[in-house]
Assembly symmetry: C2
Homo-oligomer: 265 residues x 2
Amino acid sequence: MTHALDDAVALERTGADSFTGRTTAPYANMVGPYGGITAAVLQNAVLQHPDLLGDPLALTVNFAAAVADGQFDLTARAVRTNRSTQHWTIELAQEGQVAATATAVTATHREGWTDTEAVMPEVPEPHEVRLGDKPPMAWPNRYEMRFLQGPVLGTGAPGSSSQTTLWVRDDPPRPLDFVSLTAFCDVFFPRVFVRRARQMPIGTVSMTAYFHATAEELTRHGDDYLLGSVRGSAFQRGFYDHVGHLWGRDGTLLATTHQIVYYKG
Amino acid sequence: MTHALDDAVALERTGADSFTGRTTAPYANMVGPYGGITAAVLQNAVLQHPDLLGDPLALTVNFAAAVADGQFDLTARAVRTNRSTQHWTIELAQEGQVAATATAVTATHREGWTDTEAVMPEVPEPHEVRLGDKPPMAWPNRYEMRFLQGPVLGTGAPGSSSQTTLWVRDDPPRPLDFVSLTAFCDVFFPRVFVRRARQMPIGTVSMTAYFHATAEELTRHGDDYLLGSVRGSAFQRGFYDHVGHLWGRDGTLLATTHQIVYYKG
C-alpha cells in the first residue's frame, strides 16, 4: 500500500521542466494543503528531474496564495549547474496563477572537516512522552507528535517563550528521505499560538530549509523519531519568524529551518 | 557626494521588469563583489520597481556563480500581489548566464500584537570596543567593525564556538535603509574561519533575510551602529550554515538572517 505522503507528493512529468500533481485529503489544512506537503512536492519535482545533481542542500518556498484543492502545475528548472552545486527555480501554478515560488540548491558533499556546533536538547525517550492533542485539520493526524516542552496549541497561559520541543514521526511510520524531511520542516504549530495562548488566522509566507544530512544518513535514520525544536524571534505587527532544528535520534542534525508567518490579531 | 553604497547599488531601468547595474571597486571581494552588495542590488531592484507594494519582509538570494567585474542585467518580477503581501522573483545574469537567483516578499505591516522574543546581548558601547583587523579585500573597509566576542579572521586557537558579536556601521556612516540593511545581513566573516582558526576557500551558496523593522524605524535608527550576532549550527562535509541577528542601538531587532556556505578544507 502506498503511504499517504508518497501519494500526496506524486508527480507526473509533462514536459522537460514541467510536472502536474494534485492535493490529497489526508494532508489538508484549514484552507488548502499543509504547507509542509507543498514544500515536499516542490522538493520532489527537483528530485524527480533527470538533470538533478547531488542531494538537497537548501530550499526556500514562498507561499504566494492558498493552494486550491485539486490539480496543480509545477515547473522546475536547473538554471545553473556548477561542479558541485546546482541552482533551481521552481513555481507552482493553478489555472495560470502562481500559488508558490521556490528556489533550491542541490549539491554533492565532499569529504572535509565536519562538526555539529548546535547541541541537541537532552530529553526523555519518545515512549516516555505524552502524545499531543491534535487540532481539527487532517494533516496533523499524519504525524505522531510527542511534546516535551511548550504548550501545544494555544492552551494554557500566555508566556514569554515560544520554545517547543517534540518528538515527531510520520503516522504510520515511513523511512525518512529528503521529501519527508522537507515536510517535517513545517511541522511546528504556529509560535504565535504558543505565545498568546490562543489561535488566530495565520499563514506561512516564506520558509527556508538547509539540509545537513546525506542520503545515507537518512537511510540509516529509517522510520525512527526526529526531535524537533523551534523558537520564535520577533512578532512584529502581523508577521513573526521562527528558527527550527530537526535532529535524528542519534544526535545527527538533519536540517535547520526558518520561516516567516503572517498572523492576524 | 554619493556614498559608495549608493553608487554600488545604482540601477538603470531598461524595461518593465529589467534593470542594469555594474560592480564597483569599493565593494570588491576576493573574486567578484561582496555577496552583501549583490543582495542589496537585488533588493534595490524590487524597491525601484513601480509595482512595489509595502516594504521588504523576506529575501532569499542564491549565489549561483561568481559575479564578474562589470555590467550585469537584472529582472525583477512581481509574480503575485495580494492585499498585504507581494511575491517577487529576481534574477541576475551576465552575458545571458544566470549568476544569482532570488525571491523576495514585500508586505504592508498592520497594527497588531508585537513582541521581540530574541534578547539583544548586553555589551559595552561601541566606543569602548576595539576595531577589528581587516582582511586584504576592499569591501571590509566599507564597514567600521568593532568586535565584542570571537576571534576575527581565523586567528587564535580553534575553539568549540563560532559565536561572534560586533558593532558595525557603514564607513563613512550612512543613514540606514532597507538596501543597506540587506547588505549588513552578509557582513559576518565566515564561521568556519573562526572555528578552524585559519582561512580557506569559501563562498555563500544561499542567504535568507527576514526584515522586522518598518521604514520609519530604520529612519529613526539613522547612521548609528548595528549590533550583529552570529553563530554556526553545522559544518558538514563542505557546507556550513549560520544564524545571525542584527539589532538597532536601542534594542530593536532589525533583521534575522541565515546562510549556507561552501567551504573547502
